[in-house]
Symmetry: C2
Subunit: 369 residues, 2 copies
């Protein structure tokens, strides 16, 4: 990479001072037509472009905003980042993206570096908002920032789904469908405060509804042995008729595994996901899930940070907008039929009744919160 021309080179070629070049190119002061001409010619000839680095040093603005998420391999975060990035770009900022892979060290280091690079602001999803080192760094340095998906601790702004309430809603839905014994499948349970919130909200509301406390199964990142784990899990928890998966991808994988175990979904096992990714609508049966709008969350978070940067009023959530809604789907069915039909409660191995319970397609209530 040959080193590019600087403003000095231009000044030299145009036969003037650097100040003049700066003024002409930025339209920030007077200049004679002739001089303007010469400068422009020199710029053209040298193919000159301002160095943003020099500019940043002098103006102390970098035109860059940081964005920290666990992983954009997860479409939820990908959509979020996409939304925020668009907002930033149209406001003249570029986005420094860091994926932490749910690793707290990477998170801290990345945030430290972002601050050192003097980003104008940061949107971020941290592993654990209460303990995040990076977050306290941001706070100490008073960098404009907005959390994403993390429940906001004091003095922080956040755009997040109310995981606790949403998971409670799932419990209610299982209750409505007469399920009693359910399980919770969690990915990244240790490294994600969201997953834990969901479990908590689900468990408490299950108990509240008179159901048993849900069994917990932690699984590894996209483990190929999900089927085995699921089999073992179901064997250890006889009578389990429904599973709440901590995200949609996991829910879909679980449906697949259930099929491999010769279980009918939802006949033998109901499954509910979380996130509401688009694919969930395309599969058979469609996935019952908590629908969220990550893209919108991303744009709101982006707008929030931009407002902080230029000191305007922060955007607030419109009344009509809910952070989540329950989306019904074929993967969740009532347990009622079984008990009346053949009398056997959902034991393991579950009934392979070919007359599968049909999800009622007319019920397309969005069930807003």
């Amino acid at each position: 990479m040959r080193q590019p021309a600087t403003i000095k080179d231009v000044a030299l070629k145009a036969g003037c001072g650097v100040a003049t070049v700066s003024r002409v190119l930025n339209n920030t002061g007077p200049a004679s037509a002739a001089m303007r001409q010469r400068v422009l010619a020199a710029v053209n000839e040298l193919d000159f472009q301002f160095s943003e680095v020099g500019r940043s040093l002098q103006s102390s603005r970098t035109g860059t905003i940081g964005c920290v998420v666990p992983s954009i391999a997860n479409p939820v975060y990908a959509d979020t980042v996409q939304g925020a990035q668009e907002i930033f770009l149209s406001a003249g900022f570029q986005t420094l993206l860091v994926c932490t892979n749910y690793n707290a060290d990477i998170e801290s280091n990345a945030i430290r570096t972002l601050i050192a690079k003097q980003v104008a602001g940061i949107v971020l999803t941290v592993s654990d908002a209460k303990t995040s080192e990076g977050l306290s760094l941001i706070e100490k340095r008073q960098v404009p920032h907005c959390l994403l998906f993390n429940a906001a601790p004091d003095n922080h702004v956040s755009w997040a789904v109310d995981d606790y309430a949403a998971a409670g809603r799932v419990a209610d839905k299982f209750a409505e469908n007469k399920h009693v014994h359910t399980g919770f499948l969690a990915l990244n349970f240790q490294s994600s405060d969201r997953a834990r919130q969901r479990y908590e909200g689900f468990a408490e509301r299950c108990v509240y509804n008179g159901m048993s406390k849900p069994a917990l199964l932690e699984v590894e990142e996209d483990s190929p042995e999900l089927t085995d784990l699921l089999g073992k899990f179901l064997r250890n928890n006889p009578g389990l008729s429904g599973i709440f998966a901590s995200n949609d991808l996991l829910a879909l994988a679980t449906i697949r595994s259930a099929r491999k175990l010769s279980l009918d979904v939802p006949g033998d096992l109901s499954i509910v996901g979380f996130d509401g990714i688009k694919i969930g609508l395309m599969v058979e049966p469609s996935l019952a899930t908590i629908a969220t709008d990550p893209r919108m969350l991303g744009t709101y978070a982006g707008d929030t940070v931009l407002s902080m940067i230029n000191g305007s009023a922060l955007p607030s959530m419109p009344d009509t907008y809910q952070t989540f809604s329950f989306r019904d789907g074929g993967s969740l069915a009532p347990l009622a039929a079984e008990s009346s039909d053949d009398g056997k409660a959902a034991t393991f191995p579950p009934s392979k009744d070919p007359t599968k319970r049909q999800f009622n397609p007319n019920r397309r209530d969005q069930d807003e919160v």
Copy 2:
């Protein structure tokens, strides 16, 4: 955001010169134990951290690499970026991400800015590699770079799926399954040289195989009227038995639309996708598709740029690695049953049982385009 302490503040507080502070903190020269102590104390007290902006100006390295893709709402690009980002991060670089939304102006401007910000390198997917203004800027400035998904013009390095060959393979598969009349569904046909490559490769190979030239249907970004468009398309192209969609998401949406039109997949219509996203394995029927590994492509591209930056040998593709493979799936079925029955395999229009083939266009929406 209060402005942070500088090296001068530290020097002042420690009672020494800035050079000493720099040496101590960077371990880049001698210092007495006492002095080291004082400097460290001052750093602690002031909560000092180097400004990367100042550093960048003096060293002319920014520790930043640019990444330009159409949109990470598309999981193919999301995975790619994820892969590249990880590689960069572990090499000590952060990633400036720009999503162009298939817009050539955004693309040019973004690249110009990236260059001005003095990124150490760029990985990018451009709208059209032959005409991309941004790409020629990069070339002129000799920025280390690597294309992604774009077929590489001369003097450029690229990691890309051979769209032309892959699409040809799909044509072969349709031929093996006795299909004669097929269609190609394209998203972003105008703004993506990949989509055009795929159509070309598909069309030529169809003809080569004695099939008819595939009908082309361009659809808008995630258009909700896909069902109507598909219905009209099928009506305009009677005898069409297979569809090649330019990516998996579109293929899945097409399956869904086909169902709404009361068409059985693959009974009435075979569908093949492109990309091989994971979800394709989880749906019923599973999606026949061209399987690719975007994540790997991203890491290779990342490694390539890193090698360029530090002047080491570029990574080459291992012999065993293919940019794509055909993945069989339930969405593609032979046309055999029908043809063997009545023996008129290759006649035109191809045999089709009208009772089975019939679908009910939704009158109400019929005229919508």
